[in-house]
């Protein structure tokens, strides 16, 4: 790697760090805006903790804690009232899944329909590492003459052929 490309990399990393900081700032700003209509801060904190576990179905990549959608506000109010009535978190989560399904949970339960979701990444990882080990082992057994720098195919069997 040359000197100039090092500098380019540094610049890219700096830009990325700045982006992350800005994104984090935006998140904090959103969280700060979320209305807290209850006078009881302890109840409010429990409500927000639960709301952070629930998906807003109107704007699906936000939690009910983050979202300003009318439905999210209604559901926060619902959680608030249920907590005030002394209902357990288990009961409230059941209440939500009975109405909106498992999709409402940001941490879906482990069951037959979600096996691929939970196990998939691990299976892919094992498969990838396995492939890497096999490829490296195979390469180790090859003699020096197999690594001809001009022959791209023989030296990098793990990559697709560069036929274009």
């Amino acid at each position: 790697m040359t000197f100039t490309s090092h500098r380019g990399l540094g610049r890219a990393l700096r830009a990325m760090a700045l982006g992350l900081v800005l994104a984090a700032g935006a998140n904090l700003a959103l969280a700060a805006d979320a209305p807290s209509a209850s006078a009881n801060p302890e109840l409010e904190a429990r409500m927000m903790a639960m709301a952070a576990e629930l998906r807003c179905l109107v704007c699906q990549n936000q939690t009910i804690a983050d979202s300003h959608a009318g439905l999210a506000e209604d559901l926060r109010q619902q959680i608030r009232e249920m907590l005030a009535k002394g209902q357990s978190e288990r009961e409230i989560m059941d209440y939500m899944t009975q109405r909106y399904g498992d999709f409402v949970l940001y941490r879906p339960p482990f069951k037959a329909t979600t096996v691929l979701l939970w196990v998939g990444p691990a299976v892919l990882m094992v498969f990838a590492i396995g492939t890497l080990v096999v490829v490296l082992r195979r390469r180790q057994k090859l003699g020096d003459d197999a690594f001809d720098p001009d022959d791209a195919e023989a030296s990098s069997p793990a990559e697709p052929p560069a036929a274009r």
């Binding site: 179905l57 109107v58 699906q60 009318g70 439905l71 209604d74 559901l75 619902q78 899944t97 009975q98 109405r99 909106y100 399904g101 498992d102 999709f103 069997p157 697709p160 052929p161």
Partner: protein
Amino acid sequence: MKAKLLWPLAIFLVLAVFLGVGLKLDPREVPSPLVGKPAPVFKAPSLAQPEKVLRKEDMLGKVWMLNVWASWCGACRDEHPVLVAYSRAGGGVPVYGLNYKDKREDGMGWLNQFGNPYADSLFDPDGRIGIDYGVYGVPETFVIDQAGVIRYKHIGPVTPEVLRNKIEPLLKQLNKA
């Protein structure tokens, strides 16, 4: 060597199938856990007559549709003529409205302007009945059978195609039972 060359193709095909299926899925359409379950109980005033109370028990014994709507909902306006035509045609099942998070005068004004396809509308200004029915995208439409069990839920506007291909065959089947 030949087999090795086929690997990228195989990986591409698997990926293409997954992405292809992914394209067909609509993330807005969340399967409702309520389908096949008894419709949630409700007790709500009628939109037109505040003193009249509508209950789920009153609906038992007939197949009916519950259509969630609001005057502030743009997609409801697209859907509305379909429902009006369905009611006018006659011979169908009664359609009840659930006027969701609306003001009474706005809801009434909307019906006066665009026509009223509903046998009656439940008035749900704070959206509590909506939460019980798992409503998250107005308009939504439920088909409820004689025993009060939800048989079908449609999210988004009911189009003539949905009515013809999904809802009407189901209603025919339910009415035979």
